[in-house]
Subunit: 276 residues, 2 copies
């Protein structure tokens, strides 16, 4: 089975002078792998339009089915990804009306006027679709170019993840049908900060994606809902992987003094379980 | 002043399925920036010879003065970087006699015979020079191609850093003359694990490279020698940056209960101070 190929482009001087470790890349790579893609290559470039244009064209010319970029999306002069993507595609760079309404709404809530820099965040390649950003301000960008899908995300991890998960069902739809399993675990008595290294350990050992959602109070009365997902072309395999990862995580959480409340299939409609 | 341009190539499936965060990239990017390079781009590819060949050729064709790769150097079948570099350069892939002696010595120490897989670690593009690996087994590879320098390093961070620092004087030599400042600080009473987040904080705030060398006992009687380096084309600037970073770090270490013993210029001949 040929998997669709994804390329990841990371934009930002801070990644190439070593001030920042690119955790966006590993997060996206794992997500896309579980969503059924072969992540073929990743390119990191500076905030330089020639380099950004080159990166997008390279990914498309080398047959990417999906290109995802992070960074360089925002109001400041060095946020150039959208404009340079327009250039790379040979499209006009225009104000997207739907994006403009999204940005205006953000500022209206805070009684702030639109300025040139704020309008800038609504400028996109002609024909693009904005993707809602609930965490920050600049909308994500979705562009279809031939058979390929291009998705432009901000560099701030929280915003990047929020927008990615909003568009993830569409991404999964374009991958071959996979058996996708998503299970939840509730644990009491372990603060999220103590669960974090245990989750990392399990993610190292098993090809799963794990996300913890804190409820209750981090220190006084911590309750965590932990979601584990995996996928596989073979029936039963994803189920087996998730179960093994759950058992391991359960043991680690109990060792840490946690009270595990039981395991259940994740609810439908959640970001991580939109494919049954 | 035009800075020489460096490209960093990272090889490994584990980087593109999200199992590993690429800390080698940020470490090298910071080192090279301080050594006087503009890190122009980074490419991450899978353990696939076509992709590895493409990555090296791309960096060279786009004018890299220095190409550094990490990963895919070792005895197993999926360690392909050296062989694929030979292909990319159109050179024969041969046993390097100097490298063979380095590898043989490692195994002789442990009374182990040479096998095909061990000889593999001594195979390099024709005309390459091996770089000693004190931490692991596979030597690094240095190749001159036209005006460009290519350096192939293992993916294991400890080995990667050891070999890089061995070759760093040559790397610095090829950058424009920079004022390079290196100072040491000795602190008692702070375990290295407690100093680590403080060092990270200072590295976020200042364009410096900081390395801690533990002496004494981590818990019972910790003594740390901390080396801070920075560089700048302008006289006085590197000195100013290192001093500011040192002051900040000193304050943080004292807050942590440390006893700071004084600041001195780093000794000549250390890896981090080979340029006066």
């Amino acid at each position: 089975m040929r998997l669709p190929e994804a390329w990841i482009i990371s934009v930002g001087n801070e990644l190439l002078n070593g001030r920042i470790v690119n955790t966006n890349l590993s997060w996206l790579a794992r997500k896309l792998t579980i969503d059924g893609y072969l992540v073929k290559a990743a390119i990191t470039v500076r905030d330089d339009c020639n380099d950004i244009v080159w990166a997008f064209r390279t990914a498309l010319n080398r047959g990417a089915d999906l290109v995802i970029s992070t960074g360089g999306l925002g109001p400041t002069f060095d946020d150039k990804t959208s404009e340079c993507l327009s250039k790379a595609l040979g499209r006009r760079h225009v104000v997207n009306e739907k994006a403009l309404r999204m940005v205006e709404e953000k500022y209206r809530e805070r009684n702030l006027p639109m300025t040139e820099h704020r309008v800038k965040m609504a400028m996109m390649p002609e024909g693009a679709e904005p993707i809602k950003n609930e965490v920050g301000t600049a909308p994500g960008i979705l562009v279809r170019e031939g058979e390929a899908l291009i998705i432009v995300l901000p560099g701030v991890p929280k915003e990047m993840k929020d927008i990615f998960e909003r568009i993830e069902p569409l991404i999964r739809e374009r991958a071959p049908p996979l058996h996708y399993v998503s299970k939840d675990l509730v644990v009491r008595g372990v603060p999220e900060s103590a669960a974090a290294p245990l989750i990392e350990r399990v993610m190292k050992e098993f090809p799963v994606y794990i996300k913890s959602h804190p409820h209750g109070h981090e220190i006084r009365k911590p309750v965590l809902k932990i979601n584990i997902t995996a996928s596989s072309p073979e029936e039963g395999e994803a189920e087996r992987i998730v179960k093994a990862a759950l058992e391991k995580l359960k043991d680690l959480l109990i060792e840490e003094g946690g009270e595990v409340e039981g395991i259940e299939d994740a609810e439908q409609g959640e970001a991580d379980s939109s494919r049954p």
